[in-house]
Symmetry: C2
DNA sequence: ACCTGAACACCGTTCAAGT
DNA sequence: ACCTGAACACCGTTCAAGT
């Protein structure tokens, strides 16, 4: 019998379920139902649950539209990081998978390649180039992590944001609870400001190298 | 009947199982067996599976020994970030939980408080202070993420590290595969170098403020 | 070769009964 | 109050039988 589905179809259905019902809503059985088959059919396309979850990560990565290159490596770095950030953020329920499942497909690695490519044109030497890549990538993933499970993240959608930390710590964690109220006011610019700080350090290293 | 266990006991057993057998090894049933009880007994101490996982995260956070404060905020920031990094890294199997489960206990938030406290003494204004906190915290968590599931992480313990990316991408992801070989050579200093880049950007912002 | 129902070995948790 | 066995509703996956 011919193959009834394509891998891309399965990917799309899986990501759609995660987006719609959350991570717990994705099971072999629910995905099979979404495709109008029995659970066992899936095993003709995917090795098992774990491979399915990697497929979801690939599906998210595939939605990142890598921006066109310019002659400004710093701008390209910002663009690559921003594109990844926006896409990951658009699929909050998939973030736990994005953070913990590794990809080795070309599409899954494409956003990292775009970032690496931009940074390579900074002229940094190997060790610093690697550190810069690590720092920017970690910033993007770490910020996504913070939004899902970080200490300043609002608990429920409706809960007042600053309340949680403020109430629970009652002055025992003063620095953190102050930041918590700042966060409520500056949520919209946290990515840009944070990335600017990281990039400032990288640019400084790149310029120091040109100077010598 | 008196309470047979303390929460701390349960925490230690749970973390020990994760460290020893991996995340999949921790189930209500396996934890109960480790404590020589039935699974139902656990529900007297913990609301359910999810609360248990948060307890594991707290247990990891509790093992971070926050370093003593000095009069150098940048050094204290490095020390706070380093202490968190080393502890998280010492429990690789727990990293997926650390990344995805939120804590609201005081012990769970203590490492973040230490970091916030150090950065507060930089003199940065609110928005930049928050951005700096975000950047450093994201760097630490993002680097832990990269080690577990990032594009340059070795697949298996025995697999040659550069092979994976190199072989699979065969020149289609040139920048990334070059970084992959650099990574093999510089693994030991990636944290320090990356953090130095991030801190350079933060210090630059702090000095610019002093100058005006 | 690709498909897929039945069955198995798990899992978290509800319920109800113990002390 | 705190404990806990039995039972239930799931889950991923093996197996074997279909085409």
């Amino acid at each position: 019998m011919k193959a009834r589905f394509t891998l891309a179809e399965i990917q799309q259905h899986a990501l759609a379920i995660v987006d719609r019902e959350g991570l717990a809503g994705l099971t072999m059985r629910s995905l099979a139902a979404s495709l109008h088959t029995g659970p066992m059919t899936l095993y003709n396309y995917v090795k098992g649950r774990e491979a399915l979850e990697e497929l979801v990560v690939d599906a998210v990565a595939a939605r990142v539209d890598t921006p066109a290159l310019t002659d400004d490596w710093a701008a390209d770095t910002r663009a690559a990081a921003g594109a990844l950030w926006r896409t990951v953020r658009a699929h909050p329920a998939a973030v736990p998978l994005v953070l913990t499942r590794r990809t080795s497909s070309a599409t899954g690695l494409a956003p990292a390649e775009a970032l690496a490519s931009a940074l390579t044109r900074s002229g940094l030497a190997d060790a610093d180039l690697l550190a810069a890549f690590r720092a920017v990538m970690a910033f993007v993933m770490g910020l996504a992590q913070a939004e899902v499970a970080g200490p300043l993240a609002p608990e429920g959608a409706a809960a007042a944001e600053a309340e949680r930390i403020g109430a629970l710590t009652e002055g025992t964690l003063p620095a953190l609870s102050r930041l918590s109220s700042v966060s409520a006011a500056h949520a919209h610019e946290e990515f840009d400001r944070g990335l600017a700080l990281v990039l400032a350090g990288i640019q400084q290293a790149a310029e120091a190298r040109v100077g010598t």
